[in-house]
Subunit: 132 residues, 2 copies
């Protein structure tokens, strides 16, 4: 069911400082910051040869990652691609696993349908599924 | 400097249960468990088309990931490949960043030289560098 690792998301407090560190010290290809107010984040993309790292910071205090940053931030979630998000959801639910929210995929930060799986079902790891 | 994302490491309590969940529910290609007593872990490899996820559990209570699991486990580190581990270390040190341990690369779980960077220098994220 799961395919490529689409991205790893890391929550940081100072987006510009972290972007500079990835660009200048780690020598990575880092995008300019993007604001996604509807998702409550500002982010940069770190393009690696085989996948992407996303550095996220809260857009404001209503951000879904605000509490995570307040606890220290760091590695936040992994996103796996799936061919068919609704079939994937049905398979997960049939296995007794939980998806966050009302179970309907919503349009994620990349303009594609996404779902988040309950971290308690995966040993504390937040997993995003994104339609490929 | 950094190249491919070599792997994402996730610390779990019940390795067999998590491996089964990744195999049977997420439909991923999961290896049999490997014990690496010298590194203090048992692990399985989840092979995705573009990278790998490693599910790790402590080998025993002296494991370097024992305390992390006691705090809940979950996403533990990301590993980026570099062409020349010693040149990478020198560049990091020249930029005022810290590497863990004595600064000499040691042989990692994949038989290649690795270094870990100080999480406080990367907003709480533990980064492993592995010679490609």
């Amino acid at each position: 069911m799961i395919g490529r690792l689409n991205h790893v998301a890391i929550v940081v407090g100072d987006l510009e400082a972290e972007a500079t560190r990835y660009r200048d010290v780690l020598g990575a290809a880092v995008s300019e910051p993007h604001a996604l107010p509807d998702h409550g984040v500002r982010l940069v993309f770190v393009d690696l040869p085989n996948t992407r790292v996303e550095l996220l910071t809260p857009f404001d205090k209503t951000s879904p990652i605000h509490a995570f940053l307040a606890k220290g931030g760091g590695l936040h979630h992994v996103c796996y691609e799936v061919e068919d998000i609704e079939a994937s959801r049905d398979r997960l639910l049939a296995s007794g696993l939980r998806v966050l929210g009302d179970g309907d995929p919503r349009i994620g930060a990349h303009g594609k349908p996404v779902l988040f799986l309950h971290p308690k079902d995966f040993a504390g790891t937040l997993i995003e599924l994104q339609q490929a």
